[in-house]
């Protein structure tokens, strides 16, 4: 790795960590509120998987950055504009179907993404991808199962699943956007060609929606900008809750 590509790795690892952190925080909001104890445990298990992934990637970003920031520091002491997660993961939980819609679209993408990242020239990222993709394969399976159950369930569950997918569909294109830094890192052999993941993602999503008796994703105006720190209004609310303790009592430990 050249020095240039190492400096590109910092924002790259941050993005991966931020996605996992924010989605993990979102899923954690279900703790104690899910429809059944089994689903409650499932959603919080997913949440803990994602927060573990966030720790891996944020610690790595902090180490490469060399300013003494670890995962906790990056998670709890940055403001919304410094977060580079995609807009999809910060979307509100809504009802259970909306949460499942977000999880299905994201985990299906994340599984493809991590499979590609496993071939990265950067050994740390490749090893993290291999570890995380096993967890994510279950997330994708879990979410797809529920898409089918709700889509092919009752009239009400079908309506809620459609509405959830409709809400989340606006944030899909961002997942496949290639920034300049993405292209540079890809050229160095360490990145992932996100645009190339699209056909496989489209095929898998279409397969599940068909089985679920649901319409294809609606063509909606795309919203993007999360990777550049331009977020929806929801992220600030997530951070105000997630970061409260470290903001009120800096460096508190337990």
């Amino acid at each position: 790795m050249t020095a240039t590509s190492e400096s590109l790795l910092v924002p790259f690892a941050l993005r991966l960590g931020d996605d996992a952190l924010i989605l993990g925080q979102r899923l954690g909001e279900w703790c104690g509120h899910a429809p059944t104890i089994e689903v409650d445990l499932a959603l919080t298990n997913l949440s803990l998987d994602l927060i573990g992934q966030a720790t891996l990637f944020l610690d790595y970003a902090g180490k490469l950055e060399g300013k003494g920031r670890d995962a906790d520091r990056l998670a709890f002491r940055r403001d919304a504009v410094d977060f580079t997660n995609c807009l999809l993961v910060e979307q509100p939980n809504g009802d259970f179907a909306q949460t499942i819609a977000r999880q299905f679209l994201y985990s299906t993408w994340q599984q493809l993404y991590l499979n590609a990242l496993a071939d990265s020239a950067d050994d740390t990222l490749a090893a993290a991808a291999v570890k995380c993709v096993k967890e994510v394969a279950y997330h994708a399976r879990f979410a797809a199962e529920w898409v089918v159950r709700l889509g092919d369930g009752t009239e009400e569950s079908h309506r809620r699943m459609s509405a959830g997918l409709d809400w989340m569909s606006r944030f899909v294109d961002e997942l496949f956007e290639m920034e300049e830094a993405d292209r540079a890192l890809l050229a160095a052999g360490a990145g992932v060609d996100k645009a190339a993941l699209r056909p496989a993602w489209d095929a898998e999503v279409a397969r599940v929606l068909k089985e679920a008796m649901l319409e294809a994703l609606p063509q909606r105006r795309t919203l993007t900008g999360g990777r550049l720190g331009r977020h929806t209004e929801h992220l600030g609310h997530i951070l105000s809750e997630m970061q409260f303790l470290q903001r009120a009592y800096p460096d508190a430990v337990w």
Binding site: H33, P35, E38, L41, N45, P92, D95
Partner: protein, 104 residues
Amino acid sequence: MNDNSSSNDKTGADWPLWEVFVRSKGGLAHRHAGSVHAADARMAIEAARDTYTRRMEGVSLWVVPSAAITASDPGEAAALFEPAADKVYRHPTFYAIPDAVKHM
């Protein structure tokens, strides 16, 4: 996110109960771990995975509809089990078991 909370109470109550059996490692028998509510077998496997194997307890899962289990009648316990109490010769306690044998 609680706009559907009014329906939470009845959700899941309609789902049948499944008994969960976990094999802790290869070669050992599946042991009863507990039960989960689920709409069908596949959901039961996932619920069992999330409920009973999240701390590396298992390498294999069975789920069985609780309704498929026939239990002995507690009222017959005396007739069924007590006659074995004074037949110690049925226990293979006269063999020395090598220390290396862990699960006998």
